[in-house]
Symmetry: C2
């Protein structure tokens, strides 16, 4: 027999039952909280037309797309007509453009599906990973922003993340900075990319990066003086207000941030909310508020998002306001595992039935149904091996009970039930089997 090497693609993972239980638990919590907040689920295909994906994630993003070869005779050309989705925001925008008449004017959706990036795999970085997004389509700032932050805050509360920090900024503020600091419009993206690294590489690091990219030292200094962290959100917002006297768009952004900050104080378990003027986020499509969420004791983010009022217009020809937050599902699972935040995620079975012979099979089958009706999980040992071997299996499966249907039991119409924790053994009539598991 020709053996094929059993391997999986670089950067992808198999999930075993124990991990799956953890992942399903997190997804169930997210699903339940989002539905409580009036968000409804959608799904989109993993494969999208290549033109839907290209050019949405910057040049680097294009490089990281998985592209699918055309089928049939066209395969020989090496041409690709499809690609794997890179995030859930572009597919959502395409979805909204296509289904405008089926969804309401205001559309609140959540979506939990894997995305694909041909990134260099590394610690906690994968080529296939789940994203869990919520977005609100069709409404202007700042109420949708507040609704999203409240829902996400409730998710982290439900998952027992004690203290999250929400960093918030606005793309219009960043744009105004560039203007106020006398940096050329052409250098906007370069400058924003550099200042986004402030908390990672520090002031000197950012200054060097700005200099390397040809931005005048005075402009860079001025930019950082404006941006660097202030004592309180109120002080930051006041200074921004003062700074942007002649920038209407930026003043509007500051006013919206003010409402968001104030209202977040009324959340059930209020998060630390920090106006962070250096926050930029990589993606090109943001137009308004942007968010990044951190768990206590970790500098990397566990969620992020922002407003993208022009992206849907790229598909529909008509701008539709939109804002969304994506949870870093994989990172959340890693943190919860490391910090022991998962409840019991046993993937075993409650009761194993040990049949002794094929004559017991009908009875054993009926018994299994009776036991499942009581709410327990139950299975037959899949063979007629010696009892010792069947008990060994039950142990491996973490079974709480083993129900033996031997010759004596068959004759007397009884079952012998062994409690695997206490070792206690009882012989009960077939009819009363339901009681015993819930007494023990």
């Amino acid at each position: 027999m020709a053996t094929i090497k059993a391997g999986i693609p670089k950067g992808t993972r198999d999930f075993l039952p124990r991990q799956m239980k953890q992942r399903q638990y997190v997804m169930d919590v997210i699903r339940s909280v989002y539905e409580k907040h009036g968000f409804a689920p959608i799904e989109t295909p993993a494969i999208e037309n290549i033109e839907t994906l290209m050019g949405k994630y910057g040049e680097e993003g294009d490089q990281l797309l998985f592209k699918i070869l055309m089928r049939g005779a066209k395969a020989a050309s090496g041409a690709c007509d499809l690609g794997l989705r890179y995030d859930l925001t572009v597919p959502l925008s395409r979805f909204v453009a296509m289904h405008q008449n089926e969804i309401g004017r205001i559309f609140k959706r959540y979506q939990m599906q894997p995305v694909y990036r041909a990134d260099r795999p590394g610690h906690g970085r994968f080529r296939e990973f789940y994203q869990c997004d919520i977005d609100m389509i069709g409404a202007a700032a700042p109420l949708p922003e507040i609704a999203l932050l409240q829902a996400v805050n409730d998710v982290f509360t439900a998952l027992h993340f004690d203290a999250i920090t929400i960093h918030i900024n606005d793309r219009r503020i960043l744009r105004a900075f560039i203007d106020v600091a006398d940096i050329a419009q052409d250098d906007e993206t370069t400058a924003i990319t550099a200042i986004d690294k402030l908390d990672k590489i520090g002031r000197e690091g950012v200054l060097k990066e700005l200099a390397d990219r040809g931005i005048a030292p005075q402009a860079a200094q001025k930019l950082l003086d404006i941006i660097e962290a202030k004592e309180s959100n109120a002080q930051t917002l006041d200074e921004l207000d003062a700074l942007f006297v002649s920038h209407d768009e930026a003043r509007q952004a500051v006013a919206e941030l003010r409402v968001i900050v104030e209202t977040a104080g009324h959340f059930q378990n209020p998060p630390h909310l920090r106006v962070s003027p250096e926050l930029a986020r990589g993606l090109n499509y943001y137009t308004g508020a942007i968010f990044e969420i951190q768990a206590e004791g970790l500098s990397s983010s566990i969620a992020g998002g922002g407003r993208y009022d022009h992206l849907i217009g790229m598909f529909s020809g008509k701008d539709i306001p939109a804002v969304g937050i994506s949870l870093g599902f994989e990172r959340i699972c890693v943190i919860m595992e490391e910090r022991g935040m998962f409840r019991d995620t046993d993937s075993g079975v409650d009761v194993v039935i040990a049949p002794f012979h094929r004559d017991a099979l009908g009875k054993a089958t009926e018994l299994s149904a009776k036991i499942r009706e009581t709410g327990l999980s139950c299975e037959l040992y899949p063979g007629f091996d010696k009892l010792a071997k069947q008990f060994k299996y039950a142990n491996e499966r973490n079974a709480r009970f083993v129900a033996v249907l031997g010759e004596d039991e068959m004759r007397a119409n009884t079952v012998t039930v062994k409690n695997m924790n206490s070792g206690e053994q009882k012989n009960v009539s077939f009819e009363k089997i339901g009681d015993i598991f819930h007494q023990s």
Copy 2:
């Protein structure tokens, strides 16, 4: 603004909230029944190494694989190193070979993920579709077969499929037919493919197809005489037994079918089980029992599977017995929709809060949390539009209540709650808001 045509790949679908609720309901039922039967979830990546997939599904299957272009400089060659998974059985076999030390000797898993086939899309045939598989690894027939059939039967009972028919056969019986009918070993696959169509194209059709493929008319006649439907399972099994006096493997298969048929009579809601000697199923990898399940009034199948004792060995170098059943998730959803079998799948919200002004936002936010605590879903209307517009939205969302926080209410620390079904309107104190929704 450059507009991109908003489209999705041929044969793929977006799922809107209403469909998602239906699909989630079906998946939740399947998940819950399978876990009650002691099956645990796993997931595998959507992308597999190309050599894992090639050659497992016959020549036609290879043509239908979606192949992924290599990245970086290697892309220019047009070479593909990865492909999208085509089913869940081959990935499972690869998984078992890789994780032998992490899973037990006997491994019971379920898996619900989409698969990809570049098939010609048609009515109910898609290029991306979910499969829901259960498999038992590591145990010989027939107890695993019985466990799978009982679990699948319980799924259909839980979904309120009144009467399913399970067709069952065994590859060893088909092989013995070929021998008994004096058909050459080389023509085995050809002959099996032809007789599999018996219920679709009838006796004459099968005879013609066998003749076209160069099988002698006498042999073809003999084959069909043996196979054609018998009065009862008992009669069929007896005749098979008599026919295969000198075929030990086939006699063993008949004995196993006998146990399966007898035990299925003890299932809680016993299915129609029919020994169908013409049943062949397309895939190459089956070695023992094979199944196909039909819903009442439909000739196409809603589930299928079988034993594949050599597939894992292709990856591990060592044969491990395995058997599985795959539910036709998409077809099940279509049938349930057509037959009105879905419960209420409203994707709206219970309560819409209508804030009148940003001064009400803090209060409205607190109110929404209070309402969610009572178990209802709740959202703020995302703006300060006129009340009429907010009510219109609440109607579109199928809201049961609208809670108005107007100026009067803010001053008096009350909320006005309108029951959208009865039209009744009540003014209640902010503290007592929880009560009103569950009284109404």
